[in-house]
């Protein structure tokens, strides 16, 4: 019997949906190992986060309140999690496969000499896990052979866990501060009033076909707003500086699976499809009828986006009235 520890990511007093999803995977793993799923909230003055964490369906919430953890740099956070896993009898540590989770998880795996699988999409009854490789061209079933295990969980692969009433336990652990420490400088957050890309039910994504930052504003944004959708982008659009990097969807960007994904002026390279092909309904608007994106689109409109998108925006707005 051993427990499963879940790293609770948090920012501005909130837990992302990705953490609730990680709890679902952790509960599956805990059922196999016959232990509990324990959510670890690390930080300073995290009472609100801890309270919110009690509603994510874990068996228990442990709080490690320590000034060293005011910002979750990889070195110190991995050390804190190693100590927390030890103190809670957890042989497995689960992360959300976010940029933070993927930064910390392998460092922790090396620290506790664990097997690691990143970005898992399923947990089998025999304890093996499934993860995509080659931009999702291959789904591999992986056995984690070491006694200790670390996984990060793809946020679109499981439902979010919920369930109130997990007890909170304050834990005091000794954290070995690294000799050659990392130092936090600043975090420049992309501000947006739109839904969070990875949590939105609808996503409108733009590609190189938009041709400028200006047309992301004047053409794509109005459609996003009319639909209440988050905005996404292809790598080409980000590389060209049309939109910030954190909007990139794909193999090396974010993975999304909304109810509705509208790809505008995106060709549909495999690296892009890797980040959105599990969406429920995919729409593609592209002037090239041969664009590969049409091979995954439920509905394809061959049209000039500069005409079709404003027309669609007006008609969606009219429907809302």
């Amino acid at each position: 019997m051993s427990n499963v520890l879940v790293y609770a990511e948090h920012a501005h007093g909130k837990l992302p949906k990705a953490t609730a999803v990680a709890v679902t995977a952790a509960k599956k793993l805990a059922a196999i190992s016959g232990g509990q799923a324990i959510l670890a909230v690390l930080g300073t003055s995290v009472a609100d986060v801890a309270q919110a964490a009690t509603n994510l369906g874990a068996d228990k919430v442990v709080v490690v309140d320590n000034p060293l953890l005011s910002y979750h740099l990889a070195d110190i956070t991995a050390a804190a999690l190693a100590a927390t896993a030890e103190a809670t009898g957890s042989a497995t540590v689960v992360f959300a496969a976010t940029s933070k989770g993927r930064d910390i998880a392998p460092r922790l795996a090396a620290m506790i000499d664990a097997s690691i699988a990143s970005d898992i999409t399923d947990v089998n009854d025999d304890g093996t896990v499934v993860r995509p490789m080659w931009a999702g061209s291959v789904m591999a079933t992986v056995e984690l052979t070491a006694a200790k295990k670390v996984v990060s969980v793809r946020a679109t692969a499981f439902d979010a866990a919920s369930g109130a009433g997990a007890p909170i336990e304050n834990l005091s652990v000794t954290i070995a501060a690294p000799a050659k420490a990392m130092k936090f400088g600043s975090l420049e957050e992309t501000k947006s009033d739109r839904p969070v890309l990875t949590e939105a039910a609808r996503v409108v994504a733009g590609g190189r076909g938009l041709k400028s930052a200006e047309s992301f504003k004047t053409v794509l944004e109005p459609l996003c707003d009319a639909l209440g959708a988050a905005m996404g982008a292809s790598r080409a659009a980000v590389d060209a500086g049309y939109v910030p990097n954190d909007l990139q969807v794909g193999q090396t960007g974010k993975v999304v699976a909304p109810t509705l994904y509208i790809a505008v002026g995106i060709s549909g390279a495999i690296q892009h499809l890797a980040g959105m092909k599990d969406s429920k309904v995919i729409v593609a608007i592209n002037k090239d009828a041969e664009a590969p994106v049409f091979q995954v689109a439920d509905f394809g409109l061959v049209a000039d986006l500069f005409q079709a998108v404003p027309e669609m925006t007006e008609k969606v707005k009219a429907l809302a009235k």
Partner: protein, 250 residues
């Protein structure tokens, strides 16, 4: 200063990857092999540091099959000074990290630059593991690297979920390159000629005294569930109608 850059041999990202009928691996025949795209960016960054600072040696290293020499030659042709190939049979990420520790101990670099992820296994693990094993700071997914005036520390801008994060630390350190760190150069013809004469050392992983027992075992590979193409619509009206009445998502 010495910079170690890791280079993995991977299938061209443009190639179409198919699982073999036995489900034990991918069909390798006909594949074109290249330097992992993130590692090209890592090489480029090292070369730019060399060009800016002068007294810098850039060593490219790869762990894998003998043919990885081709990818190391590409690194040399871009401008790296020498190459090391550690021969190993399909090492997992933990094994690669442990092998790299040995090379770092031997070479004593000030900086190790890796790619953020290998586009074959998509693990995104080796840099972070290596950083812990060496007890060094790490900056993953970086899009900008700036040296302090005394060149003893660096500031890194990282691409994170919510935006851009800046962190700093003293060297030595590990950094992993994201897509927008730089635009890698192509190897020039004179570069390719020169690369032929640059030193390429070969080491057998077994001689390094590290435990190469896999910590992860791939039991099976399968293609992902197929998504079939839907249909084309003729107009915006038809599209909206389909989303309302057929797909019921609006």
């Amino acid at each position: 200063m010495k910079i170690l850059v890791t280079v993995k041999r991977v299938p061209d990202p443009e190639s179409s990857i198919k699982v073999n009928p036995e489900g034990t691996g991918i069909v390798e025949s006909g594949l074109k092999w290249v330097v992992n795209p993130f590692d090209e960016i890592a090489i480029e960054e090292a070369l730019r540091i060399k060009e800016a600072q002068g007294d810098v040696e850039v060593v490219v290293v790869s762990v894998g099959v003998s043919e990885s020499q081709e990818q190391l030659r590409t690194g040399l042709a871009m401008g790296a000074d020498r190459a090391i190939l550690v021969k190993a049979d399909r090492p997992d990420t933990a094994a690669v990290a442990k092998i790299l520790v040995k090379l770092v101990e031997k070479e004593q670099p000030t900086l190790v630059i890796l790619g953020k992820q290998a586009i074959d296994d998509d693990s995104n693990e080796v840099g972070q593991m290596l950083a812990h094993l060496l007890g060094w700071p790490q900056a993953t997914f970086i899009s900008k690297l700036t040296f302090a005036g005394d060149k003893a520390s660096v500031e890194c801008i990282r691409e994170v979920d919510g935006g851009m994060e800046t962190i700093a630390f003293a060297l030595p350190a590990i950094i992993t390159a994201d897509l927008r760190l730089n635009e890698p150069r192509y190897a020039s013809l004179p570069g390719i000629m020169k690369a032929r004469k640059k030193p390429m050392e070969e080491i057998d992983a077994a001689s390094l005294g590290v435990d190469l027992t896999p910590r992860v075992r791939i039991k099976k590979m399968a293609p992902p569930p197929a998504r079939t193409a839907g249909r084309k619509v003729e107009s915006v009206d038809e599209l909206i109608n389909a989303l309302q009445t057929e797909a019921k998502v609006m």
